[in-house]
């Protein structure tokens, strides 16, 4: 039976359908989780998709974190459930404090939509284990607030604990610089494109793996990340722990 993956839908989410499409391709059963609902409908994992959750005129994700569904997602995460935020979903997770750091406006102060390359820093996680041989993955970014920021101590701690999942890199795999390097599209500190929490079950990234999940779209480098998440969630569902935790 296909593993059920929840996709949170805020009124201004606009990558929810894309994410569900990629989950379909990965053999999962996507389940829409409307922002006003408190139940997670027994899903094995939760993805917060990209978009502009509530218009985000003030700051990305700042309102979304107060949604009823986010209380449940927080509980699900606390119980060890797999949660992935993509783009706006990453911003929401950061606002909610479920992953470390913050996403500031891009250094160029302009929205930026282009293909980037990211290196998988931690290939042995439920978010990355099927990402294939170690090579830069090509996929699009499309955001105005994607500059990853944390204080130096936090960054050191993240590095030491292996919490940095993805970094922006050049085609040859060399890590991008922080400033004036087009390979790091938003000027993220230490070229961080994605991180996970300390427990390792909540992750966010700015690039869009769901937009790079079919060769016809120019790259299927992201599909390994989608499949990783689906399999990771399936494994946890089999173990049963998270499902019980959310049922309480």
């Amino acid at each position: 039976m296909a593993v059920r993956i929840g996709v949170v839908v805020f009124p201004g989410s606009n990558c929810d359908r894309d994410t569900m499409h990629a989950l379909d391709l990965a053999g999962a059963e996507p389940v829409e989780l409307w922002h006003e609902q408190a139940e997670l409908d027994g899903v094995a994992g939760v993805i917060l998709p990209g978009g502009f959750a509530f218009g985000d005129y003030l700051r990305a994700g700042v309102i979304a974190r107060f949604s009823p569904v986010m209380r449940s997602v927080t509980g699900f995460a606390a119980a060890g459930g797999l949660v992935l935020g993509i783009c706006n979903g990453f911003q929401v997770l950061a606002e909610a404090g479920l992953v470390p750091g913050a996403l500031l406006r891009n250094r160029g102060l302009r929205f930026l939509g282009r293909d980037v390359r990211i290196a998988v820093e931690q290939p042995d996680t439920p978010f990355t284990h099927l990402s294939g041989p170690r090579r830069p993955l090509r996929m699009p970014v499309a955001h105005g607030e994607g500059c990853y920021f944390a204080d130096a101590a936090t960054l050191d701690a993240l590095d030491a604990a292996g919490q940095v999942l993805f970094r922006y890199v050049h085609e040859d795999g060399n890590v991008a610089g922080e400033t004036d390097d087009p390979a790091n599209p938003n000027g993220s500190l230490r070229a961080i494109a994605g991180v996970r929490n300390g427990a390792g079950n909540v992750a966010g990234l700015m690039p869009h793996p769901e937009r790079a999940s079919e060769a016809i779209l120019g790259s299927d480098d992201g599909f390994g990340l989608v499949r990783s998440f689906v399999e990771g969630a399936a494994a946890m569902a089999q173990a049963g722990g998270v499902l019980e935790a959310t049922a309480r």
Partner: protein
Amino acid sequence: MTIAPPRAAEPLHRALGVTDDELDAIRDRLGRDPNDVELAMFSVMWSEHCSYKSSKPLLATLPTAGAGVVAGPGENAGVISIGDGLAVAFKIESHNHPSAVEPYQGAATGVGGILRDIFTMGARPIAVLDALRFGDPSEARTRHLVDGVVRGVGGYGNCVGVPTVGGELTFDPSYAGNPLVNVMAIGLLEERYLTLAAAPGPGNLVILFGSTTGRDGIGGASVLASATFTDVDASKRPSVQVGDPFAEKLLIEASLELIERGLVEGLQDLGAGGITCATSETADRAGTGMAIDLDAVPRRESGMAAFEVLISESQERMLAIVRPDREAAVREVCERWGIPAAVIGTVSADGDIAVAEGGREIVRIPAPALTSNAIVHRRLATPPARRRSAPAPGAEVEAVDRLPERGMDPGAVLAALLGSPNLASRRPVFEQYDSTVQVNTVVGPGHGAAVLRVKGTSKALVASTDANAGVGAADPWLGAAMSVAEATRNVSITGARPLGVTNCLNFGDPTRPEAFWALSEAVRGLGDACRALGLPVTGGNVSLYNESPAGSILPTPEIGVVGLLDDVASRIGPAFVAEGDTILVAGEAMPGLDGSEYARLGGGAAEDDPPPLDLDRERRLQLFVREGAARRLIASAQDVSGGGLAVAIAECAIWSGLGAAIRVRIGHSPAVDLFGESPSRLVLTTRPRHTPALELLARQFGLPIEVIGSVGGIRLVMDLVGAGATGAAEERGSRVADPIDVALADLRHTWDHGLARALDWEAPASAPEGR
């Protein structure tokens, strides 16, 4: 209720932009004098923008019938069937004057307005293409406008989650006081959900949903869109609407849900003319009337006069015609999306738009008087006194002389063209747009036509916008016909079959006979070209009064084309594909440099005619390339347009990272053969073993075709051969026949940085473009 005219001496109707003749015509239709509120409604609905009162007789000449056309002109958007129960909805519209006054909001609401036209029909918007035209990029004001408009297009499209996949960006001094912001939107629908903007069934409820109504955008259609700018006028800023893309996103989802659940009998968006337009148009289409209770309209500010509520152009609002027993279900959908909804009236059988305020009827106008029976003007059309004379023999060679420092070195001209604001990479602009959301984008902006796969099928939609304004200045018929030829050619070279044409006609003041002549010639050219290519015109928009104190814009017939590719995997791109492939040119160069980028580089129009267009040859060329694609004989196909053959080949090389060795036969002059923009030409590549078959196929379509070189290396080398090369060389020393021989990396750098340099933007990314 009275509206105080701004100047006491001026009668109200004139202050509202209604002429004395028009006032008589209004009296004629009402059988009495209009009251002030009615006059305000007429002033908006009889504006050029809403009524097409000058262009209607011209537009009636356009071909509109075609295979699969489900909805044509008169509807919010054209709709054409693409099989599998699916249809594509598409339309292009202008938001020129609002963008001149307030570039961010003007452009943003331009995107919002055209998206509403699409989802009103039951189609989910899947793509936006934006065609932008500005003045000299070195001027501070131009930079301000470009920055604001680009941010506005992106700010809106990115937020609603509709990818911007193509368009144009062109600079010409004629647009300095009056930039053009034309936005095309494409939607995909299941044919069974096709919804029309009509108000059938007396007794049905009229429900207004979406944002509340405020004072923003009062008289946008009449004040801004239908009069010549005296100057950039801050007092007109209140006439610019303010966009809320988040509200639009909710509106898209709610509207499509209402349609898919079968809850609405008719649906109309509120754009120009606001409630007045939406009520009268839907009623007129169904032959009904409407009784509107103005007090029921949710407002965002107090103290609004009746006329303000009726003509406000507050954005992100929709009008639904709903059976009474479905009101609760409609409210439930709107509530789920957090959208206010109010019953503001009922459909009536009397054919009148009747408006009550405080229980008292304040308006009663027959719906057709506001829309289908609005006034039509027969404008005077006079060709300009000074038409261009026939070209002097060898005039195109003279144009070379306009480039003394470059004329001797074709390589330097090529570099100058590739780095020029109109031909350099558009990447600094389109990177500010989300071009990949919705996961359909197979080919995004920057490389010719956009290609969007259709999920659940093997098909793809292919779209392009083009306008040849440079040629239109000399010959508006030719400019329009060439625009159609180029836009359809750009679709055909992917292997796709063009389905239909939408157009945005940007012209000057129609009361000026020369401007109206240009419009009529352009419409004739549009019709002739569409008939020759067998394509229906499914809708569009006319934007007149595009003038500023500095003069009129170039006549700019913006053409949008959508085509269908049966198998997305078979698509052909413009970039070279493989080392060793043969390079061919189909079609032949014709003299005529006027309107070309080469002439622009030389400091203005050449004293020369534009090149000719043979519509039948164009038709055969497009059939040929599609047939060649279907037989898998073609590896890449590139259109020869801005910058001519040399730029076309350079682009193929830059985009692929593959060099080429070429021999160009100079039959006319180096300028014409390398940089002339005569139409109906393609640069093709093919595997060497397919070359004879491709040549044979071209001849079967009666087209000249010639092998000119092969793909390979990291340099672009063009040898000039033939009588033209040596003749010119003798005339002015041997250097004219010097070959172009340049490293691809240098060309790429020039092309990459040209636009950012022209606009003084931060250095663009040097990462490889595209995928």
